[in-house]
């Protein structure tokens, strides 16, 4: 069973590019990436990706699709040197707590030696892996905030 995907912007099919998740549940605005997540109108819980049942209170009516904030704090990270085919080793992944409370895992656009714990980061769009036929997989990832 696959989770219901949020109604995002129509995935634009460019040659040699695919998006993950396929529904491309984000919007670009002012150079930042705004993920589309769930907000429960009954208890206020938020989650990503969007879904039709609230994991917190169990209600299954009226779940809203909302933009999550594009900024957050890097909780921890690891630099991966052994990975499945197509991932650009070495690469860094990290857990980021967005400023509105949702935690995301994603690739971070820096080497581990350049990063510190609790750094402020923002969401951006970028290539996360390359498939055997050369197709680039584009998703959300993190970049240090320049400010």
């Amino acid at each position: 069973m696959t989770a219901p995907q949020p109604e995002g912007t129509e995935a634009t099919k460019s040659p040699g590019i695919e998006y993950f998740p396929k529904s491309k549940p984000w919007r670009m605005a002012d150079g930042a990436l705004h993920l589309l997540g769930m907000r429960c109108p009954h208890c206020g819980a938020k989650a990503f990706p969007a879904r039709s049942v609230c994991h917190a209170c169990g209600r299954d009516d009226g779940m809203e699709t909302v933009e999550l904030v594009p900024t957050g704090t890097l909780y921890s990270f690891a630099e991966i040197h052994a990975a499945p085919k197509g991932f650009p080793t070495p690469y860094v992944i990290g857990f980021v707590d967005l400023d509105d409370g949702v935690r995301l895992l994603g690739q971070v656009e820096h080497r581990a030696a350049e990063l510190g714990m609790d750094e402020k980061v923002q969401l951006v769009e970028g290539v996360i892996r390359t498939r055997g036929d050369g197709t680039k997989v584009v998703s959300y990832k993190f970049r240090r905030r320049s400010s």
């Binding site: 921890s76 499945p84 409370g101 935690r103 998703s139």
Partner: protein, 380 residues
């Protein structure tokens, strides 16, 4: 109601890479050893529970067919790293329910069939698609743990050194060599801050146990070893902040297991815990109540968890050194516990052990601490 099952016999293969053997043959070796150890004929087995995670379907039937042991109820159990431990819990339930008196539990996996590397993630889940691998999940725990407690990579390396102290005395272990802190730190990087020797190896193996009633166990003439507690929990979903330096899931499962057994962490004479990666051992010292939160690095350095220490942990070498054929691990821990409780553990014997705890937890599911955790407490 769950604590009237007794382990009458155990047996396992060595854990190592065995690509030349079929998994059926590997499983059969463990089954035959357990039956022989218990002193029961195959016809005495009324039900079978088989835990495996990554090798195939209908594993119990495939292993037992050529032993002429199909025809009775066989339940195949998949619960990631806790598959074998979960199968033991189900066997205890079958006995407690009065449905069977003598039950065979098998744990098995053959990871060399997967072609090496990290265990593949599940493709519908978010994290593996974004580049998550299991070593990285634990590496992120480790980095945060080091930040908050002041632990260093040397502490992490010392966990591996201790694992190899046990493993070199264990004829069933995948690695039987001692290692130094320097060698662990210098092994190739897998997921910074983890080098290769800070991660459990991939390998193959099977372990089996015969579980029965007190009356039957007594009649078999073996030392009585009771499953005094058997607890299973699953991870709670948190789409937001989670303290990755603690294992809420293991804490919750341990509380249930201790309550069932009527004991506390101070009563545990030896523990076989899920040290899939070095940080896991430190975190689980704390989650199982062996030392206070943040106290694990000092507890390790005190020598308490070495074979001759006050709280021996993983005298077998643990997952880091004995190896981790996923579904087999929980029952291999039970084998190790039984050998110590009987005084049959040879050079790595924990003297006078009367209470043993086995702990498995794993299954990478995005948003959960882990998929599951299973803890069994065996009392002689």
């Amino acid at each position: 109601m769950m604590n009237n099952a007794y382990v009458a016999g155990v047996g396992m293969t060595r854990f190592c890479k065995m690509p030349e053997r079929s998994f059926e043959e590997i499983g059969q070796e463990a089954v035959l050893k357990a039956l022989k150890d218990a002193g029961v004929e195959r016809d005495a087995i009324e039900e079978v529970f088989c835990g495996s995670a990554l090798t195939g379907r209908s594993m119990g039937q495939r292993v037992l067919r050529d032993l002429g042991m199909t025809g009775r109820p066989i339940t195949n159990v998949e619960n990631a790293c806790s598959s074998g431990s979960t199968a033991l819990r189900e066997a205890c339930t079958a006995i407690a329910a009065g449905r069977a008196e003598t039950v065979l539990v098998l744990g098995i996996d053959q990871l060399t069939r997967l072609g090496g590397g990290t265990i593949p993630g599940v493709e519908t889940d978010l994290d593996p698609n974004l580049g998550m691998v299991m070593p990285a999940l634990y590496a992120m725990r480790a980095r945060r743990y080091m930040q908050e407690t002041g632990a260093t990579r040397v502490h992490l390396a010392k966990v591996a050194v201790k694992a190899h102290e046990g493993g070199q005395l264990n004829p069933y272990a995948q690695f039987r060599n001692p290692v130094t802190v320097e060698e662990v730190l210098a092994s190739r990087m897998v997921a910074d801050p983890f080098s290769l020797l800070m991660c459990c190896p991939t390998g193959d193996g099977a372990a089996a146990a015969v579980v029965t009633t007190k009356k039957k166990a007594a009649a078999l003439g073996k030392k009585l070893i009771r499953v005094a507690g058997t607890a299973l929990q699953s991870g709670l979903y948190k789409p937001g902040f989670r303290d990755l330096t603690r294992s809420e899931l293991t804490e919750r499962t341990a509380k249930l297991a201790y309550e069932q057994a009527g004991i506390g962490p101070e009563d545990v004479d030896l523990a076989e815990i899920h040290d899939a990666f070095v940080i896991a051992e430190l975190m689980y010292y704390e989650a199982l109540g062996f030392c206070p939160p943040g106290g694990a690095p000092a507890f390790l350095e005190s020598g308490a968890t070495r074979i001759n220490g006050s709280k021996p942990v993983n005298p077998s070498g643990g997952l880091l050194c004995r190896g981790h054929p996923v579904g087999a691990t929980g029952i291999a821990q039970v084998c190790e516990a039984v050998w110590h409780l009987r005084g049959e553990a040879g050079e790595r014997q924990v003297e006078g052990a009367k209470v043993a705890l086995t702990h498995c937890t794993g299954g990478g599911v995005s948003g959960l601490d882990h998929g599951s955790c299973a803890i069994n407490i065996l009392v002689a």
